[in-house]
Subunit: 238 residues, 2 copies
């Protein structure tokens, strides 16, 4: 996959679970993949969906975002079930090291709706949905970027299969926030979802295509990457 | 820690983040710790707080709960930010393999309050808090155990620093659910919280003591374990 993506795509997103299944041997293989991706000039998002509090959340940030760490990536996915505030240490680390975080907000699976659309009762975001309160806190974490019109280091995960309105969100919430967008291809969204779901925030999204590419198999995977990139370029040109 | 706990405590709960920080070398060390714990007759809860959907959630379950896996534990902590339904595969795996899962519900950190006390709007649990809806779905997952008066394989994490009422929960919700209870010691709860916080469910809880024991240092750690166990026995005897 790294060979196929190098020079054709910008970013690879290894799914950590499929390496973790093999224990330390799996992580050793992942370290080789990360090294090869870096050597190919690819950026890496570690799809780890870690989450914890305090010194433990800090350790997860160190594992994936510290320059020189064996598992160093350019960004990681992370979960705020224990509050965006519980992620203060990895957020600080990302901002300091020029790395990125993508906090789960409105994910692409239907079972997520109950938790992510629940209405917050406590604290300064009372009345907002869980998804909207996470997006607002991530936006605050981006500090200066928010005001300068550039994208911040802290992003969110918003699936391409969702309707923003269902989650109490609107496209204007994301002016300074990069969006990692799963849900294309096998999970059901076509590239037409970029305009329909994300509207003006469609310029901020990282379109994720996994199984559509992997299914092509070793012989055809490079051309599958190129096809996806070409189709995406057409969407943005239009 | 394993040497100190063997024969004195029932369970060890390694915090995966602190191994992950060292990449594959850290996981290799963790595999040795897990092997030593098993050889000492200790049960192991992998504090991993993983979470994802579909085949990825299944892979996390396989990593930690499959007999013979390099990272095999007896139970793991897991997050339902994407819905308890997203954890169907690891739940099935736990039930089939006689392993356990502890789903985060009402954790011990104050930043978690906004998400975990939010009111669900969608689906069959509308009107319940996120924490209560997770507890109810975990209870359903336990199937037969729920009706036979025994504890099920699926548990929840309820911090000893919380008030159940704040999270829309009551002690009666846990009749068939084991509870992993962090928050004792450094996070602020004394053993008196067992009765005060958990009431009649105090019989279902796994009391977690980490830093209070670790801080004793290598020379005194075994006696620190014994002291904690003795104090806990007094609470239950009373």
């Amino acid at each position: 996959v790294v060979e196929a993506a190098g020079g054709r795509a910008g970013i690879v997103k290894p799914q950590v679970a499929f390496f973790e299944r093999y224990g330390s041997a799996g992580f050793s293989a992942l370290e080789k993949v990360l090294g090869a991706a870096r050597a190919s000039g690819l950026l890496i998002i570690a799809d780890a969906k870690r989450g914890d509090i305090g010194s433990t959340a800090a350790a997860y940030g160190q594992a994936w975002l510290t320059p020189g760490s064996p598992l160093e990536a350019d960004a990681m996915t992370i979960s705020a079930f224990q509050g965006v505030g519980s992620l203060a240490d990895p957020i600080r680390l990302a901002l300091a090291a020029g790395k990125g975080l993508f906090v789960l907000a409105a994910t692409s699976n239907p079972e997520s709706l109950a938790v992510q659309t629940a209405f917050v009762q406590q604290g300064p975001r009372a009345g907002a949905t869980v998804a909207a309160s996470i997006v607002a806190e991530v936006n605050e974490s981006n500090g200066d970027a928010r005001d300068s019109g550039t994208l911040g280091s802290c992003g969110v995960v918003i699936g391409a299969t969702v309707s923003l309105a269902d989650y109490g969100l609107s496209a204007e919430d994301f002016s300074a926030i990069p969006i990692l967008a799963p849900g294309f291809g096998h999970q059901g969204a076509g590239f037409d979802a970029i305009e329909r779901v994300y509207g003006p925030s469609g310029r901020n999204i990282l379109v994720n295509s996994s199984r559509t590419i992997l299914e092509a198999g070793p012989a055809d995977i490079a051309s599958a990457v190129s096809t996806q990139v070409r189709e995406l370029a057409k969407v943005y040109a239009a």
